[in-house]
Structure formats: C-alpha cells, structure tokens
C-alpha cells in the first residue's frame, strides 16, 4: 500500500502576489510551515470557485518554488505557483487578489529523485510544465550537477522561463510550435542533439502526456534514466478516489493501475506504460 505524502497538511493560504507573465499567472502564497516540507516535483491541491461554486473538485498545481529557510525566523513560508488560466477553476484561481485566501492541501505526491553523485541532467518542460523544473535545477546545481534545460510550448507567450529561474542552468533551449521563440518544432525534436552535445545522463521532464511519451522513446534510445512528472485528471489529490491512475510497472515487474497523486506525479518513465488512455494495457494486474 503506497500512502499519501506524510508531510501533507491542509491550510488557508493567503495570496501574497499575483502577476501576469506571458500566458500565465505567477502567484505567491503565504503557507505557514508547508514550504519547509516541499520538495521539487511535489504539488498542492486547491479548492476553487468560492462559496457558492458548482466546482466540487480540487485543482492540482505543481510547486514552482518553495521558500522557507531564506526568510526571517518566525515568518511564514512561501509557495509559488504558475497558473495557466484554462477552464473555470484555473481562471478563478488566477483572478484571486492579494490578501484573499484559498484552501490548500500540500505538499502532495512524489518528488524528483536526486542522484547521490553529481550527474549531467537534462530538464525538459512543456508549457507550465517548466514550473517544477526551476526548483529542481537549483537543487541539482547545489549538488554539483550540470543542468541543461529545454522548454517547449505552442508559442512564445506560453514559455515560462523567468530570468531568476535561469540562474541555475548551464544552457537553456526554447522551442515553439509556431517558431515565435527559439527553435521551431517540438521539444522532442531538439532532444537528441542536446543529449549528445551535453552528454546528458538523466532526463527530468514535466508536461503533457504525449510529450512525456515521446521523451521516453528518446530516453530508451539513448539508454538514459527518465524521471517524468505525469499529469492525469485528479479528483482528490490525496489518494482516496482512484481517478488519477496510470499503468505502472512495480518493482515486482507487475503492471498495476497506480495513483499518480501518490505514486506520482514523478514516476520512473521507463516503468510507465505510456499511451494507455482509454484502454487497460494487456497483462495489467486484475485486468
């Protein structure tokens, strides 16, 4: 039985800042002690819609940054998110004003595995999938790793790559479908060359499932480790609803429908059975 992130708590988090950055809102929340226990790759689950809302489910957001130690003693920790206003829930959240409060549960889920030895890491993000990668880059850098980053999106406005975030990366490549920034094409198109040039040893990724699947194919080809942060529809975020599953091969070799909110979002890409939406892969336990 896997279980929920043992550090998860439920709090009323106050909006400290909310700034539009390209297609996104960069939001900072005051979160009491929650920041101290957040690791790169963790996410939070937030109630959306307010008092009389018809939206009954929480929304999950990857933690972009969690600040705690650098703050004066006694002050609240901060958690930063990157929100893409998309449907009703994210649009509501992105329109919260400073001083408003939202109900937040976190930190949730698994975090990116950090190698014990310095390695050459390639971080790959799609759209707001870049959010958890900057905190990861900082951590890897502090452990002596070389960090290269490639971010892709449909167009320039959807690349989230703030200046301060770039501090920790040795190289930054941008791709856009329409060529409005960086290379024209998809991130996966850029990967082989980057892997070869940078002699990458591990890939960390976050973005749409199709992108992650394409990256896994490349990781397989180059025989690289691949830690992927997956994104399945989540109703609860805390492991009680079983909506967020993907087929995942366990250490015993058995494929089980596993909860991405508890066994993920960060999973070993080589263990995920990709492209399994709308069907249960053959051989899955209990199928």
């Amino acid at each position: 039985m896997s279980s929920i992130n043992p550090r998860a708590v439920q709090i009323e988090a106050e909006v400290v800042s909310n700034k539009k950055v390209g297609a996104y809102h960069h939001m900072v929340f005051s979160v009491e002690g929650m920041a101290a226990s957040a690791r790169p790759g963790n996410f939070v689950a937030i109630s959306v819609g307010g008092e009389s809302t018809g939206l009954v489910l929480r929304r999950a957001f990857a933690i972009y940054r969690a600040t705690d130690k650098s703050l004066p003693a006694g002050s609240n920790g901060l958690i930063e998110l990157v929100i893409a206003p998309h449907g009703q829930g994210s649009t509501w959240l992105a329109s919260r004003q400073v001083h408003e409060k939202v109900n937040m549960v976190g930190p949730l889920g698994t975090s990116f595995g950090i190698p014990t030895e310095p390695v050459r890491a390639l971080l790959v993000g799609g759209g707001y999938g870049s959010a958890p990668l900057f905190g990861l880059a900082e951590l890897l850098k502090s452990r002596g790793c070389r960090v290269d980053m490639v971010l892709g999106a449909s167009s320039a406005g959807k690349i989230y790559a703030p200046l301060e975030g770039k501090r920790s990366v040795s190289s930054m490549t941008i791709t856009t479908d329409d060529g409005s920034a960086g290379l024209q094409g998809r991130v996966s198109d850029a990967l082989p060359q980057l892997i070869e040039e940078n002699e990458s040893e591990i890939i960390y990724s976050c973005g749409p499932m199709a992108m992650l699947q394409a990256i896994q194919a490349i990781a397989d080809k180059y025989n690289l480790l691949h830690q992927a942060s997956v994104e399945e529809s989540m109703a609860c975020g805390i492991g009680v609803c079983m909506t967020c599953v993907v087929p995942l091969r366990g250490s015993d070799g058995v494929v089980r429908m596993s909860r991405t909110c508890i066994d993920g979002p960060v999973m070993d890409g080589s263990n995920v059975i990709w492209d399994s939406q709308r069907r249960i892969p053959e051989g899955t336990w209990g199928a």
Partner: protein
C-alpha cells in the same frame, strides 16, 4: 449531554457519520488529516473476490455541482484486502463497515463468508449496484429478482449479529419496491443512494469523456434525488435503518437526509473537495441538532415525516 450515537440494526455506533464506499481510499490516506476513530465507522471501498484493474482512464469528469466516475471497482481482491487494509484499520481501532461487490450471485455468498466474523467489523454493506455478468450486465439492484437473489445469498452466509446493509441504485422506476424486496430477502438495513448513471461528452474530441462512456454521478447535484429516495423508502419501511448518502458536504446537508429518514450519513465526493469534510459534517450536524432542541440524534431520524398538525 447530547446523545449522538446511532444504531444500525444490532450494531451501535458512537456517531452517525461515516465515509462513503470508494471515497476514502483504504482509510490510511485520510488518517493524516484526522483520527479515523472520530468516525462512526469507515465504509471500505467495495471489494471483489479477485484483484481488479478497474476501468481505463479517463475515469472522471467534473459536472455542475457534481462529478462522474467510472473507477470500475479497482481493488486488490478479498485476500490482500483482508491482509492489508482491514488489518491496518483493525490495528487503528476503527469500526469498519465492509462493502462487498460481486459479478455473480455466488460471488456475494463467497465474499460474505470471508467477512462474517472479523474484529471491528460492525456491518456488511452489500453493493448490489453492480453489473451482473450472468445477466447481460444488468445491474443487480435494478431488478427485484436479482436484487433479492444477491441479498438472500449473503443472508444465508452471515449470522444475525452482523447487520447486512443493501446498497441500492437510484436508477429504478420504484426504489421502494426494490427496498421491500431486499428487506424481505434478509437485509437489516439499506444504503441509499449509489451514484446516478450519467455521461459527459467532451466537446473537443466530440466523444464521451470517460473511456467507458457512462459513469456514476455523485456530489451535491444529486442530493435532492437522495433525499427523495430516503424519504420514500423510510415512509415505506419506517423501521429499517438507512445509511443516507448523496451530495452531503455540510451539517445542513446531512440534517436534510436525517430528517428524511437516514440513521447514519456517508460522506463521499465532498472528501475529494475537502479532506476533512467528514469532520466538518459531524460537528455541524451536532450543533444543528442541539440548536433545534434534540437531545438524542435518533429523535431526528425521519422527523420530516411527522403529521402536518404538529
């Protein structure tokens, strides 16, 4: 002192607030947010004989004031369930209502035998809102004869000290009819309501959003249907305890179902929106009852049925 205890046939619970089957994981996940011993009992996810992968994803869609799910009873099967989940709950000192689900009438009998006398297990919820593989996948509880057959089989395999609670689907022409049938077949209590069959179509892919097309609708959207079903069944069978559920997210919601005739309340979907929803419901319900002058929870059960002249 307000008496918050409630009786489900031969079992007494310290308070009437329960989780809803399939909405509380294995229990362990919620224990991080509150002590599970705060609950009247935990109702486990419906367990089947064998391990089951459940349905393909997408398995859920949010709907106005509700959600659709088609988990498809994913679970480890009865063996691992008893070994892991039940053992953990027993250790934690939590009262347990085990929910079972079968694909055939015999499955129900076999499952009943496995759980008939386990420490801390205070009730057996028989989820008969499942497709019957021997009858074109028709849901057991949608036909009086198959509903009866499933419950009779459980009854034959369980002694009188473990209450059998039949969980019914609201997707029927006359729920009182099914209720009478399962009670005469030996059910000690009823759980009302399971989810309502629904569908969402994704207007972008222009196909049903859920991989299995249809799913079960739950949440506040269905509360008026739950209140009606509980009211109808309590009117027809006033002595049969009912576990009420369907869209309860607050004490006010729970009170509605209690006044309609529920002796206990399961909180399902609300937990997804708020991990501590059950505790909120429990505390609010208690205050509302005290404010209204009730000294015992049981006095409020079915209170909306009293004669107009009162």
């Amino acid at each position: 002192m307000f008496d918050f205890s409630t009786k489900l046939s031969s079992s007494t619970l310290s308070n009437p607030i329960l989780t809803a089957s399939g909405c509380a994981g294995s229990g362990k996940e919620l224990s991080q947010f509150f002590p599970l011993t705060e609950l009247g009992a935990i109702v486990t996810k419906s367990i089947m004989l064998k391990p089951r992968s459940g349905r393909a994803t997408p398995r859920m869609a949010e709907t106005p004031s509700g959600m659709l799910n088609s988990i498809g009873l994913q679970g480890p099967g009865i063996d691992l369930f008893l070994e892991n989940d039940i053992a953990w709950l027993q250790e934690a000192g939590v009262k347990i209502i085990v929910s079972i689900a079968g694909e055939t009438v015999d499955d129900y009998a076999a499952l009943a035998r496995r759980v008939r006398s386990l420490p801390n297990v205070v009730g057996l919820e028989v989820n008969i809102s499942c497709p019957n593989v021997e009858n074109r996948g028709m849901v057991f509880s949608c036909q009086p004869d198959t509903a009866r057959a499933a419950i009779e089989n459980v009854r034959r395999n369980v002694g009188n000290d473990l209450p059998i609670i039949a969980k019914l689907s609201p997707d029927v022409t006359d729920i009182s009819l099914i209720a009478r049938e399962v009670v005469s077949a030996g059910a000690d209590g009823l759980a009302l309501i399971n989810t309502v069959l629904g569908m969402v179509i994704d207007v972008n892919t222009m196909r049903p959003k859920l991989a299995q097309k249809t799913g079960g609708l739950s949440g506040p959207a269905i509360r008026p249907i739950a209140v009606r079903a509980i009211y109808q069944v309590h009117a027809a069978l006033p002595k049969i305890p009912i576990i009420g559920m369907g869209g309860v997210a607050s004490g006010k919601d729970a009170l509605e179902l209690v006044l309609a005739g529920a002796s206990a309340i399961s909180v399902g979907t609300a937990t997804f929106g708020n991990p501590t929803a059950v505790i909120k419901v429990k505390e609010e319900l208690k205050s509302l009852l005290v404010e209204r002058g009730f000294e015992k929870f049981s006095d409020a059960v079915g209170f909306a049925h009293r004669a107009e002249s009162n």
